[in-house]
Structures are given as structure tokens and as C-alpha cells.
Symmetry: C2
Subunit: 122 residues, 2 copies
């Protein structure tokens, strides 16, 4: 299996470096963090697919990393990024496009079918 123990992964928050909008949360292992630092583009560990992925590898919606912060306990990462296109596979700028009561508050910036086609979501 490709699964990794949860303890090896750290949640990583991606935030628009200009507007402050929180775009998404994903997980990083050491390799994802290393590649992110080396390439300047956000890489994550996909828990559902059990593999490393570069954000935007199928959509083109990459995240250009401007800064990387770490929290006090060193168990959470905050990426300040320039988001190309939208962060969310549903077509929104941010994955947080709904309130907990179901109201849509986010901005739709692309049509998922046009970007992902039949390949499935990133």
C-alpha cells in the first residue's frame, strides 16, 4: 500500500499571498516539502490517492510559493502562494466556498468539466 502514517504528514494551508484568502488545506510529507522548497511550486501528499502530487499537474492551476511559514508547534505549514486559476477542483477560487449552513460565498472561476474533462478530479 501507498498509505502513509498520519503522523508523518503535516497539514499545509495555502493562502493567497496578496488577498489573504485561505484557498485550501492539504497534507505534506517531507518529500512534498522538499520539492516545494526546491521548485517553488506547491507539492502535497494525497491521502486519498496515496501518492505525491504537484498542485496543478492536471489542471495547470499551480501554486507559486512566495513564502513558507511554520507554526509554534512545528506541526502545521502555511504557504503564501500565487494561485493560478482556482484552487478547488469544483471550480472555485477557494475550497472554502460554502458556509457550514450551505450558503455559497465563494467565487467560481472555471468549469471543472472543461479543465479536468473525463480524467477525474485533481
Amino acid at each position: 500500500m501507498n498509505s502513509k502514517a498520519e503522523k508523518e504528514l503535516k497539514p499545509a494551508i495555502a493562502q493567497d499571498y496578496e488577498t489573504g484568502e485561505v484557498l485550501m488545506l492539504a497534507y505534506m510529507d517531507e518529500e512534498a516539502l522538499r520539492l516545494t522548497r526546491e521548485t517553488g511550486k506547491a507539492h502535497y501528499w494525497s491521502r486519498s490517492r496515496g501518492k505525491l502530487w504537484k498542485k496543478g499537474e492536471s489542471s495547470g492551476h499551480e501554486q507559486l510559493v512566495k513564502d513558507i511559514l511554520i507554526d509554534c508547534d512545528e506541526d502545521t505549514i502555511l504557504l503564501k502562494v500565487e494561485q493560478i486559476g482556482g484552487a478547488c477542483h469544483m471550480g472555485y477560487r477557494s475550497c472554502f466556498y460554502r458556509t457550514i449552513n450551505g450558503a455559497i460565498v465563494g467565487k467560481k472561476v472555471f468549469e471543472p468539466d472543461e479543465v479536468y474533462g473525463k480524467k477525474g478530479k485533481e
Copy 2:
């Protein structure tokens, strides 16, 4: 033991509702989310202490919740909050007060010893 399976917990990002600053990341179980919604003050599940806690219960640095967003996969919560005092037990406004290279970029807003005394960190 008071520990909870990781799968019952969702990461919750607290963000300043006015400035957009990401303040901290903690975890919520259903009870923490229910109490947060009912009281309008952020509650979390402490993984290290194995118990529910109200943010600010020892420091007074409560988080007044203005809005609650959920992400596309419904596995991460984003709280828009008014942060009283500082979010970080180290005395900073945000727990993300350092770059990954160790540079201090955050704003110190209180002295931990004065707030927590010998009681230990919140």
C-alpha cells in the same frame, strides 16, 4: 484513555475576520463544533491533552466566531474570528510567526509568563 481516533477530528483553521491573517490550526470533533456554533466562541479538541477546550479558557484570549466555512470535501473547517489578545501561547498574534528558515515575522502581543504564569501553556 481520552484519545480520539484521528478520523473523528477535522482540522480547523482560525483566520482573523478583518485582516485575513491565519492565526492557528487546531482540531475539532463534533462536540467542539456544536459548542462553537452554540456559544459563538471557538472550542477545539486538544490532541495533546485528550480533552475538549475552549480557546482562551485560561488566557482569556477567546475567539469570537463571525462565520464558519467548510471546504469542498467537508473535511476541513475555516473559522472567521475576532481574536481577543493573541492566538499563540508563545505570545504572538498568530502561531505562524516564523518562516520555515527561522526568521521571526510575527507580532508579539503579550508575555506568556504574565498570562499563563506557572499554570503552563494553554
